[in-house]
Symmetry: C2
Subunit: 217 residues, 2 copies
């Protein structure tokens, strides 16, 4: 029984790694679509989100079946419950990528944000992609040094998020209301994407160290 | 054993009802603070969110203990897993109330949105409070007619959310960039609050009808 359980846990882990990889692809495509006004790529991200959603649904179903069949307790139980939570966060990260792609599609052939903000969004996008790639590695290796790295990268995303508002609210801002709306939403989506990654990283970290923080943080 | 389990499920339900009631209080206070620039009330909402967070953590811990002790299967298992998900959504609803309160505090003594948008936000706030109150009732009574009602109310919130953008992007909009940013964020928070309620309502509905939708939708 124990061996079957370990095998099932590996299956859960493999699927989390797979979904995280797809989320990383999506945010890479979404931020490129956003920064380069590539509407075909934006459409693809929107399409791909259905697959991410379906995979998280299937993973949740597997986790529930494992709970029913294996009746895990203690740390084993917490691992399965964590998988459900990580799955939910990955699903939301996919949604954030989709939202960014939708902004790109909506504004096409225009770019979503005016010139003065583009370097900031390019950098936020680069950080989000980096965070998603490292998150995939964290889920695969459980190397908790990566969790720390992700938190630091998230701090940089938060700083850029604040800097977007500084620019939009500054005297030099010449954007129209539509630019202000889009910059506000886009910045929020980039920031939330990284937040979810930090939330997952914390769960992996606490599982690895034996601590446990049950709340979504 | 079965009787103990039923008793524990009732405890979970009671706690969900309690948290949902606090979330309803918070959104009522937050929207009032927002619409009336009541900074003391805004502070209270921000303070109260710590309590909501602590209660959801405690509830999650109880649910995990029930899984470990009672080893539920089939529908019983899905009820406990649903409780974990509902708890996460309530926690996020509390966060949205807090974000709305933070906007009110930040802009004090000014009002957050210019006059032309105030009736829209008063109505969105009224709907969010109504949705939260009915959600609490749904969790208490499991009367699934309420779930349908909540979905309809959410449609109205979505329409108002779109109408905020129509106004902000319309020719008559005279708001500064700060007004545009705040209206965009505030509208998004109101809309997300209702989305989470719909997500919870669906879970209760599917549990009651024997169907099951595992994904966050």
């Amino acid at each position: 029984m124990r061996e079957v359980f370990q095998q099932e846990l590996r299956e859960v882990q493999d699927r989390l790694v797979e979904i995280s990889g797809l989320v990383a692809d999506s945010i890479e495509n979404a931020t490129r679509a956003f920064n380069e006004s590539d509407v075909a790529l934006a459409e693809r991200v929107i399409e791909d989100d259905n697959r991410i959603d379906a995979l998280t649904v299937a993973l949740d179903e597997l986790a529930i079946q494992i709970l029913a069949r294996q009746q895990p307790v203690a740390r084993d139980l917490r691992i399965v419950v964590s998988a459900l939570r990580i799955s939910a966060s990955l699903e939301r990260m996919g949604d954030m990528a989709e939202h960014i792609a939708q902004l790109a599609r909506y504004r096409f052939p225009e770019k979503v944000v005016p010139k003065s903000l583009r370097p900031t969004f390019v950098e936020m996008g680069r950080l989000d992609v980096e965070i998603a790639r490292r998150l995939t590695e964290l889920l695969r290796t459980e190397d908790i040094a990566i969790a720390e790295y992700i938190r630091n990268e998230d701090d940089k995303v938060d700083e850029l998020h604040v800097s977007v508002f500084d620019k939009v609210l500054g005297e030099k801002w010449k954007g129209e209301a539509a630019d202000t709306v889009d910059a506000t939403l886009a910045s929020r989506y980039h920031e939330r994407f990284a937040d979810h990654a930090v939330s997952i990283a914390k769960k992996v970290q606490y599982l690895a160290t034996g601590d446990w923080i049950p709340a979504d943080d």
